[in-house]
């Protein structure tokens, strides 16, 4: 398992948050997603064998949000 932390640009509409939350959660291998509206951050736990930090970053980019920074940490 690994944890990805993505720093996005400023989020302004609460519905953006729901969109990102659902889109990332729907990816294979993603178990827990937290979108922090005010900090503009996304934290997601995922299985490296099924997806990667880059994949998650692409999903968010495709929704139309800028990903400024991606950090991946192995957790177990």
């Amino acid at each position: 398992m690994a944890k990805a932390i993505l720093q996005l640009g400023d989020l302004t509409c609460p519905s953006c948050m729901t969109k990102i939350q659902k889109a990332v959660a729907n990816q294979k291998g993603v178990s827990d997603v937290k979108v922090m509206f005010n900090a503009g951050k996304v934290r997601a736990d995922f299985d490296q064998e099924q997806t990667s930090g880059e994949d998650l970053s692409n999903v968010i980019t495709e929704l139309g949000y800028e990903v400024k920074k991606l950090k991946v940490k192995e957790t177990a």
Binding site: F37, A39, K41, L63, G64, K71
Partner: protein
């Protein structure tokens, strides 16, 4: 499609600007030049350009099964377009986009205090490899065990231990204590603190989000998003409210056959200020706290804290600094220096906090040469006894003296009573059944305890209760100097917990203030647990509110801030509901149209944001 989406997101502000130009030009042609056709064409272009970003947002949300405000606006704009009200449709989209631009700008302000905090996080480090070469790396690339070097004035990039060098550290960002602390080999240092002078090499124990500083930031970021009950209610309400507006508009159309009225209802029904009003107060309130070293774990904590009427405090480490100091040392032998040296020599070998205080005191008196002393045995709850061929040394409390037949003279008695009256703990040393030294040791009261507690009572705390494991007399001495209503002394941690439960059973809302380690059960059980004075992981984890600065003024600030934040949330909800009510009334009376309705809406959103900014 995705590319277009992103491009539009990026250039939304320019699109808004373009809309403004088109609308002004159109109005100019319409009213000044009287070129009606050109004016209408410009409005049509403006409507189409303006509707695209709104419609894209609406679609994106709809795909995820969310009926958004954007959807209401999109339908209204298309409706207006269909019935040929191009001016209305252009102005509505412009106001909507301009409103979200202003919203974005003002929201940034409410988030600024936390941003400033995150910007304090270290980003780079000087990595020292095995050969002693130094390279600058990103902190994210560091691992446990890596050695990093920090030069004077530099920021500590990681949590770790000093392996080489000494220096003076400013740890204000972690402990709130701004006086520099000297640290050397083997001492722990924290990421985010600064080294005032000296150069050190640090062995990394944790990096980034795992450091104490990282945890503080994470906590605040999560807190800003964790909603108060009011905000959650509004959120839930909005998910039903928005589709309901859609249904109502459809019903209006069906029953009145008035299409224009129906689309106006769509615009007026937008829950804009309602959705943003409650969260924005929270963000501003929590942000203000973070700026002042008060970490409130979310809207729930703020809300419960504002309702607290009973404040329960631990004594040692909370009301007092937890640092033991000798208040007075009376000597009775012929050679005071020799007696003090003996006492210090005995205490040097003990781990007791009272012992440390004595050693420090004797050291400060300039007595450094300790005599040879015999082996000592510990007598539980009394002290220590040491024998050799010529003398017997007793160090401990009065019980130890009585148990060993030491005579307490009138002079001794007076000294003991003086110390007891001061609320001190007492350490007596007797040599061959004769008292040589009587020492009073005390725990310093926090300097702002009186002012802070007074302010808290003024702000609405009805009862202040002190619970302590310490003896009754010492507890009373502390309580006498402070506005404390009730004291319970000589308690075990479980008994403290029972008191907290008991207050709650009687219907009080209880806040417990403690240092977080032995008090964690009480911290967790109280309606609000407030960790104070440590900045340690335990305190951060268990408490609902963490005071980075161990001060009562910041406790009072936190309480007043929580009350203000809750009041602010209520004001915002009121403003939002009143706006919708007034708009509907205006619609019935016939003085509100689609564009003017949109204008009032956007204005109300700004009003609630500005109202929240008063908390910053």
């Amino acid at each position: 499609m995705m590319k277009l989406n992103m491009w539009i997101q990026k250039h939304q502000n320019k699109i808004t600007g373009l809309l403004a130009v088109l609308i002004v030009a159109s109005l100019f042609f319409s009213y000044v030049v009287k070129a009606e056709l050109l004016a209408t064409i410009l409005m049509i272009i403006a409507s189409i350009i303006g509707a695209i970003p709104v419609a894209l947002h609406a679609w994106g949300a709809l795909v995820n099964k969310v009926i958004s405000i954007e959807l209401l606006v999109t339908i209204a704009v298309i409706g207006a377009f269909v019935i040929g009200e191009f001016e209305e449709s252009a102005i509505v989209t412009f106001l909507f986009l301009f409103g979200s631009y202003l919203e974005q700008r003002t929201l940034q302000k409410t988030r600024s205090s936390v941003k400033k905090l995150t910007q304090l996080a270290p980003t780079q480090a000087e990595l020292v490899d095995d050969d002693g070469n130094v390279t600058t790396v990103d902190v994210d690339d560091l691992d446990e065990g890596d050695h990093v070097m920090v030069k004077p004035g530099g920021q500590i990039p990681v949590d770790g231990k000093i392996v080489d060098g000494t220096g003076y550290f400013n740890e204000a960002s972690i402990t709130g204590e701004s006086a520099p602390v000297q640290k050397e080999d083997g001492d722990s240092v924290y990421a985010g603190s600064l080294i005032d002078n000296g150069t050190v090499t640090i062995e990394t124990s944790s990096v980034g989000e795992d450091t104490t500083f990282g945890k503080i930031i994470e906590l605040v970021e999560e807190a800003q998003d964790s909603q108060s009950p009011a905000a959650r209610f509004i959120d839930k309400f909005a998910t039903y409210y928005t589709p309901a507006v859609l249904v109502i508009a459809a019903l209006v159309w069906i029953f009145t056959q008035n299409f224009e009225l129906a689309i106006t209802v769509l615009v007026l029904g937008c829950p804009g200020a309602l959705v943003i009003g409650a969260p924005v107060s929270n963000v501003a309130g929590i942000g203000n706290g973070a700026k002042n070293g008060i970490l409130m774990k979310g809207g729930n904590a703020v809300n419960s804290f504002s309702r607290i009427d009973t404040l329960v405090l631990d004594k040692t480490g909370t009301l007092t600094t937890g640092k033991m100091t000798v208040s007075k040392m009376d000597t009775f032998g012929t050679d005071a220096t020799a007696d003090m040296a003996t006492l210090a020599a005995v205490e040097k070998g003990s781990d007791h906090p009272l012992g440390h205080a004595i050693v420090k005191y004797v050291d400060a008196e300039g007595i450094k040469d300790y005599p040879e002393i015999p082996e000592f045995d510990t007598v539980k709850g009394q002290g220590m006894i040491g024998h050799d061929t010529e003398k017997e040394i007793l160090v401990g409390n009065e019980k130890l003296m009585q148990a060993n037949g030491v005579e307490i003279t009138k002079e001794n008695r007076k000294s003991i009573n003086d110390r007891l009256d001061n609320g001190d703990s007492i350490v007596i040393m007797a040599i061959n059944k004769e008292i040589r030294v009587i020492t009073g040791i005390n725990d310093e009261l926090r300097p702002d305890a009186f002012d802070g507690l007074t302010a808290l009572k003024k702000a609405g705390i009805q009862r202040v209760v002190m619970l302590t494991g310490d003896n009754r007399l010492a507890a009373q001495r502390v309580a006498e100097k402070l506005p404390i209503d009730e004291i319970h002394a000589e308690l075990l941690p479980e008994q403290k917990l029972d008191f907290v439960k008991d207050f709650q059973a009687k219907g009080h809302k209880v806040a417990f203030v403690g240092d977080g380690i032995n008090d964690s059960p009480s911290l967790a059980t109280a309606d609000i647990g407030i960790g104070m004075g440590t900045g340690t992981d335990v305190a951060i984890d268990t408490a609902d509110i963490v005071l980075v600065k161990s001060s009562f003024n910041s406790l009072a600030h936190a309480y007043i801030l929580a009350k203000k934040t809750v009041a602010n949330t209520k004001e915002n909800i009121f403003i939002a509901v009143a706006t919708v009510a007034l708009l509907l009334l205006g619609l019935l009376v016939g003085i509100i149209q689609m564009a003017s309705g949109m204008f009032v809406h956007e204005a109300s959103i700004l009003v609630v944001i500005f109202n929240a900014m008063r908390l910053l």
